[in-house]
């Protein structure tokens, strides 16, 4: 069997990098497509979240007031745990099949490509949690106002989690004990998010209003969006060296 002669391509020329958005779009589209084709995995993560949240009342108490006090904290911590499940895979699968090297060698800025991957990660793991949490909060006898503040906080906190988690995932690429080490690395960094997020609900219940907490979360989100892609890209390059 002889293959036809390859076509003569046009003149060789270096390609200028096309700008940030193109890179983000490439990574976002690809990762979303890949996630969609492994739908079952996503379902499992969500199920994990639901199970963890349901376990707490079973292990502690069905008493209304106690549950109500615990609720925001449990929902926030469970969001963290669910995210930790999926974070190691953010770069590891690409690393394992050689795609990560191609990504790092692309003319698109690595920071842009990494941002696209992080965005896809949030859309597939963080956003479902944001949508699911208010429903689960009903188990904890939380009222409408609390649930709204909870959702608003998670809406900003879950992206921060994906952003910080990406740094951890890149740093621990290919290492033994990856998942546990990843958790150890990012949990301390995540503490302020937890405090402000769960604290927003407490504040609203205490009549103090959630604006302060939520704006601080917003500031954290802005800081993470700007800084994390650079740190994560640097970590990816270090891991590929």
């Amino acid at each position: 069997m002889s293959a036809p002669a390859p076509s003569t391509a046009t003149a060789l020329a270096p390609v200028p990098s096309d700008g940030v958005l193109a890179g983000v779009r490439w990574a976002l589209a690809r990762d979303l497509k890949l996630a969609f084709r492994s739908r079952a995995e996503l379902g499992v993560q969500l199920l994990f979240y639901v199970i963890v949240v349901t376990l707490f009342p079973l292990a502690t108490t069905p008493e209304r007031n106690l549950l109500s006090t615990m609720g925001p904290g449990v929902l926030w911590v469970a969001a963290l745990l669910a995210s930790l499940l999926s974070l190691p895979r953010l770069f590891a699968t690409d690393h394992a099949d050689g795609t990560l090297e191609q990504i790092a060698l692309s003319p698109y800025a690595l920071e842009a490509l990494v941002s696209g991957k992080i965005a896809a990660h949030w859309l597939t793991t963080g956003l479902p949690v944001v949508l699911l949490a208010p429903m689960l909060g009903l188990q904890y006898y939380m009222d409408g106002e609390s649930l709204t503040v909870l959702a608003a906080g998670l809406l900003m906190g879950t992206p921060i989690l994906s952003l910080l988690g990406a740094i951890g995932a890149a740093l621990t690429l290919g290492l033994k004990g990856g998942g546990g080490l990843l958790a150890l690395l990012i949990l301390p960094l995540y503490v302020p998010v937890l405090i402000f997020g769960a604290g927003a609900v407490d504040a609203v219940r205490a009549g103090l209003g959630a604006t302060a907490n939520l704006s601080l979360l917003g500031a954290g989100f802005a800081l993470a969006v700007v800084g994390a892609p650079f740190a994560a890209a640097a970590a990816v390059r270090i891991a590929l060296d």
Binding site: L171, L181, V191, P192, F196, D202, A206, L216, A235, D241
Partner: protein, 251 residues
Amino acid sequence: MSLNWFKLSSPASFYPVAGTLIPWFAWGAAILTAIGLWLGFAVAPTDFQQGEVYRIIFIHVPSAWLSMFLYVVMAFWGALALGFGTRLSGMMAQAIAPTGALMTFIALWTGALWGRPTWGTYWAWDARMTSELILLFLYLGIIALRQAIGDPRRADRACAVLSIVGVVNIPIIYFSVKWWNTLHQGASVKLTGTSMETTMLTGMLVMSFAFWFYSIAVVLARLRAIVLERERDAAWVRALPAVRAHAGVLR
């Protein structure tokens, strides 16, 4: 004596310099500790509210200060390692982490010992203690990451990225915990009234310098060990008398 700083930046040149510096800092630490402890335990007066127990601040506060200071220094050396790729900077950062973690641990431990008689509990979720605990986790994370990465160069750079991210986060962590704490009306730590007695302050400062000198001495000693380990194939290491005496034993 003019110092050519760039010449000092190679492990080979800094190794002997560190060796000569260590005894000075070690002795300095010992003397300052003696003075500080004397000031703290013999000279400073009994506290109005807390009695004799408060004296633990002469260890607690300096160790807490050092724990934070060392973290920043470690992040600084990490930044140098990342920016310039110099091996010695990475080795410095590697040498600092365990001592920083130790200081954090001492601060937490002495804090708990102080807490028991003062608040009735070994642990209270006040802003400082909680942030100190998280600082310990940060240190342990950096040490764990270094252990997990085999290649020293990759480890230097990965730990540098992590320390820098952590450094940015430390004030945020402290602030957030303080916020959370005031909201929860938790037990708050009051050092001693509103104005501190001069002798108490002097004692704490002297002890802080003592801890600082101790840290420098210990970090330099650890640095020398790290240099030997990481540069073991270099000719100058093989030529060291102590190494030559054991040559052949490990091969």
